[in-house]
C-alpha cells in the first residue's frame, strides 16, 4: 500500500515534469519516464524489501534529475510552470503566509469577478511578551488551480475597480497593501468601466496611494499586471515571468498571423527568450527589486518552506518601505539592509509627513527605471544648457506666477470687489439719470439695430470651419481620383473627388461626416498658430534595448521614413496666443507604439509643463500600444508616465487628451486613459484590445463598430467627440474653461 502511494507520487511528479517540458525532447525526461515504467512493470514480482530499496533509488534519481532539469529551464518552461494548475495561487498564500484572513466580496464564483481576490489579512508578530497583529489588505488575481470560472486570472474591468476600491479602503485605514500578481493579462472587454480605462484609473490612484505597497509577481502579463503592480517594492518569484505580452501574442505579431492562426512552437519559444521576461532578466534591468527563490521546478502548494520564505520577504519589504520614510529608524533599517528578513518590529502606519516622503520615493523609483533603454547622444554641454534653461524658466515661472502672480491676483481681486461695491452705489443713480435723459430726448430715434443680422440665417461654416481654407493641404489631395466613403451602404454617400475631399473639406465626408485619416502634419499646421511650434527633447532616440532580433533594421526604416527619432514628438506651441505643451504620438512610426524613448519624452514634457505652468495636450495620431520588442522597458512606461501625469495634474495643470484614428492597449490603459478630459476626433477607434484579440481570448463575437468613438462615448470612456475642422476652436474653449488652478494664463 505504501509502495503504491509512493509510485503514484512519482507518477504525479513525472506528469508535472512532462507538462513543463511539453513538446521539447529532453533526454532526462525520457530517462525518468523509462525508469519509472520499468519499475512499475517489475515491482509485482519483487520481494518487498527489494521493491522498497529499488523505489528509494528511483526516488533519488527523481530528486537528482529534477535538480538537473531545474538548471535547464528555458523561459518558455517557466511560462508553463506559472500557468500550471498545480502552481501556488493566492488562496494558498493567504492560508500559509498570513496568520488569519477574511475574503472580502466573494465566495468562489459568487463574486463580482472571481478572478480578483481581496482579503483583509493579518500577520502576528511577537515581541517579548507582546503580540502585535499587523493588518494588511491583500489584493491579487486568483487562478484557483484551474477553476474555470476564474478565467485563469484574467480580471474583468469591474474586478480591477473592486481592487481599486479596497486599495482606497486600505488608505483610509492606513494599513499596507500586499498585491499578488497572477495574471496572463486583463480580460479585454470594453463594457463600463472598460478594461483600458479602469487600468488607467488604478494606475493613477496607485501613484498617489499613501500607504506602503508591496507587489509579488508570479505571472505578470502586461496591463493586467500593471493594474495592481505599481508598488514601492516589487518582488518577483524566481520561476515567474513579467512581460509586455504573452510569448504566443508576441509570436503572432512577429509572424504576422491573423484570424486565429497558430504560431509555430519554435517561434513562440524564440519570442519567449527574446522578450527577456524571467526574474533574473527583470532583476538585472531593475524592474523588480529582488527575486525570491523557489524550490526546484517551481513552487507548488506543498512547499511550505517557500511560503515561510515568502512571508519573511513581504514582512521585511513592508518594514523597509516604512522605515525608509519614517523618522526613527537608525538601527532597524541598518539591520534590515544587512540581512533580508531580519527580526525587527516596525509599526506599519504612517504619519502625514512620512506619507509625502513615501509618494516622492515611489515617484523617483519609477522615474529612474528604463534609463538605459533609449539613446540621448547629446554632448554634455547641451544637456547642461537644457538643464540650465529649464531651471531658469522654472525660476521665472515661480517669480512671475507664484510670487508676483499671487500678489497681483490679490490686488486684482481687491480691485474687483471695490468696483462691484461702487457699482451698487453708482449704478442706481446712473440708472435714474439715464431714465430721465431718455424721457427728455423724446422723439429721438433709437439706435440702429442690425435687423438683417438678426432675422436672416447665419452661415454655419463661417470662421469655425475656416471656410475651407487650410494652412496645410494633404498630399492625398493631389490625386485625381474619386474616393468612396465606407458608410456608402448605410448613408448612401456619393463618391467624392479627392482634391475636394482632402483639400477644402479637410478629409470629412460631406454626406455622412465620416473622417478619413489625415497626416499629422495637417494638425500641426491647422490647429496651432502658424510658426509657433518649438520642438523640445528631439534628440531622444528609440533603440533596441533587448537586442530583439531584426528590430534594429525595422527601427532604422521607421526613422528614415518619418524623419523622427522616435514615435513621440514633444513641442511647445501656441493656440490663439496661449502656449501649450504638446506630446504627439505618431501612427507612422512603428504604429505609434510606445517604448522607453517615447515614455521618457512624455515624462520630460510633463515635467517641463509643470515647471512652466503650461497646459498639456496629448494628441494621439494613432497608437497600437506598447512596443513589444522593448519588453518590460515598454510596459514600465505605463506606471511611469501615469505618475508624471498625476504629479502634473495635482500641481494644478490641465491635461487634455485627443484621440485620432486608432488608439489601443497600454497607452490608453495608462497615461492617456487617466485624463479627466479625453476627446476623440470623429471616426476614431479607441479600445484596449483589437477585435481579433478579443475574439481569440474571450470567444465573443465582436460587432464591427465595437471600438468606434461613439461607442466609447456612450460607455463613458471619453468625454466628447470633435469634428476635425473644429478642433482649434474646441481647444481654445477647453483651455479657457477646463483644468486646475496653476495655469500661467489664468
Amino acid at each position: 500500500m505504501d509502495i503504491e502511494k509512493r509510485i503514484q507520487e512519482l507518477r504525479d511528479r513525472l506528469k508535472y515534469i512532462l507538462d513543463i517540458f511539453g513538446p521539447d525532447e529532453n533526454t532526462n525526461v525520457i530517462m525518468l519516464e523509462a525508469k519509472l515504467g520499468e519499475y512499475v512493470a517489475r515491482e509485482p514480482g519483487l520481494p518487498k524489501q527489494e521493491a522498497v530499496r529499488q523505489l528509494e533509488t528511483l526516488e533519488e534519481l527523481f530528486r537528482f534529475l529534477e535538480k538537473k532539469l531545474e538548471r535547464e529551464l528555458t523561459p518558455m518552461n517557466k511560462v508553463r510552470i506559472v500557468r500550471h494548475p498545480q502552481r501556488i495561487c493566492l488562496k494558498d498564500i493567504l492560508e500559509n503566509v498570513y496568520d488569519n484572513y477574511t475574503e472580502i466580496g466573494g465566495q468562489d464564483d459568487y463574486s463580482i469577478d472571481p478572478s480578483m481576490l481581496i482579503a483583509r489579512a493579518y500577520i502576528t508578530r511577537k515581541r517579548g511578551n507582546k503580540v502585535h497583529n499587523q493588518a494588511v489588505m491583500v489584493i491579487g488575481q486568483e487562478k484557483g488551480h484551474g477553476q474555470e470560472f476564474r478565467n485563469g486570472g484574467s480580471v474583468k474591468p469591474w474586478g480591477n475597480a473592486k481592487a481599486l476600491h479596497y486599495m482606497k479602503v486600505a488608505e483610509t485605514e492606513n494599513i499596507p497593501i500586499h498585491t499578488y500578481i497572477f495574471t496572463p493579462g486583463s480580460y479585454p472587454i470594453e463594457d463600463y468601466p472598460g478594461a483600458a480605462q479602469q487600468i488607467a484609473k488604478n494606475l493613477y490612484e496607485m501613484a498617489g496611494l499613501k500607504v506602503p505597497i508591496v507587489a509579488v509577481i508570479s505571472e505578470g502579463g502586461s496591463g493586467g499586471a500593471e493594474a495592481i503592480g505599481l508598488a514601492d517594492t516589487r518582488i518577483m518569484m524566481s520561476h515567474g515571468y513579467y512581460s509586455v505580452i504573452s510569448p504566443e501574442g508576441a509570436a503572432a505579431i512577429e509572424g504576422r498571423l491573423r484570424g486565429g492562426q497558430r504560431a509555430e512552437p519554435k517561434l513562440i519559444e524564440h519570442c519567449a527568450k527574446q522578450l527577456k521576461m524571467t526574474a533574473d532578466d527583470n532583476r538585472a534591468m531593475g524592474f523588480v527589486d529582488w527575486k525570491i527563490g523557489e524550490p526546484e521546478l517551481g513552487a507548488r502548494p506543498e512547499h511550505y518552506d517557500f511560503f515561510r520564505k515568502l512571508r519573511k520577504s513581504v514582512i521585511s519589504s513592508t518594514d523597509e518601505i516604512v522605515l525608509n520614510v519614517r523618522g526613527m529608524r537608525l538601527f532597524r533599517s541598518f539591520a534590515l539592509r544587512r540581512h533580508k528578513g531580519a527580526d525587527v518590529y516596525v509599526r506599519w502606519s504612517l504619519d502625514s509627513r512620512a506619507k509625502e516622503r513615501l509618494l516622492w520615493t515611489r515617484y523617483m523609483k519609477f522615474r529612474r527605471m528604463a534609463q538605459d533603454a533609449y539613446l540621448d547622444k547629446r554632448h554634455w554641454f547641451s544637456r547642461g544648457s537644457e538643464w540650465t534653461s529649464e531651471f531658469i524658466s522654472s525660476l521665472y515661472s515661480y517669480f512671475r506666477y507664484d510670487l508676483f502672480g499671487k500678489q497681483h491676483k490679490k490686488v486684482t481681486e481687491l480691485a474687483e470687489d471695490m468696483h462691484a461695491e461702487m457699482q451698487v452705489v453708482v449704478g442706481r443713480s446712473t440708472r435714474y439719470w439715464k431714465n430721465v435723459m431718455s424721457k427728455l430726448s423724446f422723439g429721438k430715434a433709437k439706435k440702429d439695430v442690425d435687423k438683417a443680422g438678426l432675422t436672416s440665417l447665419s452661415a454655419w461654416d463661417d470662421g469655425a470651419q475656416n471656410s475651407g481654407k487650410w494652412q496645410y493641404v494633404s498630399s492625398q489631395a493631389k490625386l485625381d481620383r474619386a474616393v468612396v466613403c465606407p458608410n456608402t451602404s448605410v448613408h448612401g454617400c456619393l463618391d467624392q473627388w479627392a482634391p475636394d475631399l482632402f483639400g477644402e473639406w479637410a478629409g470629412v465626408c460631406s454626406f455622412c461626416g465620416h473622417h478619413f485619416p489625415m497626416e499629422y502634419q495637417w494638425y500641426l499646421h491647422n490647429i496651432f498658430d502658424p510658426g509657433s511650434i518649438y520642438e523640445v527633447f528631439s534628440e531622444i532616440e528609440s533603440t533596441n534595448p533587448l537586442k530583439f532580433e531584426g528590430f534594429d533594421l525595422k527601427l532604422d526604416e521607421a526613422k528614415r521614413k518619418t524623419g523622427h527619432k522616435c514615435g513621440c514628438m514633444t513641442f511647445e506651441a501656441r493656440i490663439e496666443g496661449t502656449s501649450v505643451m504638446v506630446a504627439m504620438f505618431m501612427g507612422a512610426f512603428r504604429g505609434g507604439s510606445v517604448g522607453a524613448a517615447e515614455g521618457e519624452k512624455f515624462m520630460r514634457a510633463m515635467e517641463r509643463a509643470r515647471k512652466k505652468q503650461l497646459p498639456f495636450l496629448s494628441y494621439v495620431h494613432g497608437t497600437a500600444g506598447i512596443r513589444i520588442q522593448e519588453g518590460v522597458n515598454g510596459v514600465i512606461q505605463m506606471p511611469r508616465c501615469t505618475m508624471a501625469v498625476r504629479r502634473y495634474t495635482e500641481a494644478g495643470g490641465l491635461y487634455l487628451v485627443l484621440y485620432d484614428t486608432n488608439s489601443y492597449a497600454g497607452p490608453v490603459a495608462s497615461f492617456l486613459g487617466c485624463s479627466p478630459y479625453q476627446f476623440a476626433v470623429r471616426s476614431a477607434n479607441i479600445g484596449f484590445a483589437g477585435p481579433g484579440v478579443i475574439k481569440e481570448t474571450t470567444g465573443m463575437d465582436i460587432p464591427p463598430n465595437y471600438h468606434n468613438a461613439y461607442q466609447a462615448l456612450s460607455r463613458g470612456h471619453i468625454q466628447g467627440i470633435w469634428d476635425r475642422r473644429e478642433i482649434r476652436g474646441n481647444l481654445v474653449q477647453s483651455l479657457q474653461t477646463m483644468g486646475g488652478r496653476n495655469l500661467y494664463y489664468r
Binding site: R481, V483, D495, D701, P703, P704
Partner: protein
Amino acid sequence: MIDVKELLRELREEPYEKISIRAPHSGKVEFVAKEPGVRVVGPSGTWKEVPGTLLVRMERENVKKPLYAPQKGEVMSLGEVGNGQFVQAGQELMTIRHYLTREEVIARILRRSLSLFLAPEKGKYYFFPDVDIKVKTKGSQSVHIEDGMELFILSRMKRETSIRYSGPAGIIYAVYFETNDSVDRDSPLIGVCPEDQLGQIQEVVSRVQSDWEERD
C-alpha cells in the same frame, strides 16, 4: 381567395429566386465571377459584417468599387456586357439563382395567403383576457376574429392600451410574438387566414415540410 395549390405548383416549377445584379452606377466593368454556374455566397457573420462573394469590380474615376453577392446561390447568366466595357447605371450585369430553402417557401406561401397584423407601436403585447384563455386552452387556431374586435393589450411604460384588430375576418393562423417580450413597431403580431382555407394551408405547409428538397 388565393389558390395555395397553384402557388405551390409554381414554386415547384421554379424552385429558386432570380436576383438581377445591376450596375449601381456607370463605370468600367471587370467581372470576377466570369462564367455561369459559379457558386456564390451572401453576407455572413453575426452582424452580416462579412461581405459575400465578390462578383464584379466597377471602375469609375480611378476607383475600383466592389459589388458583392447579396444571397447564396449560383451565377445563372451573365448580361450582355463584356469584360472591360463601360456601362450605364442600371444595366443588368448578371443574374443569380438563389435556391429557396424550406423556410423561405413556407414564408412565401404564408405571406401570400395570410393577412398579417402589425404592431402599431413598440411595447409588450398581450391578448385580451377572453381571447387569451381560448388561445391557451384550445390553441390560437380556434379563435375567430373580426374587424374592430378588441384583441390586444399594449403595455408600455406603466400604461396599458387596448388595440382593436383591423383587417379581414378569419382565424389566427400563427402568433408571432411572445408574452413579456418587447415587440418592435411594424413587426407582425399575428397572421390571419380565412376559416375555410385553414385546412388547405396546413396541408400545403406540412407537405413542404416533408418533401421540399433543398439544394445548395
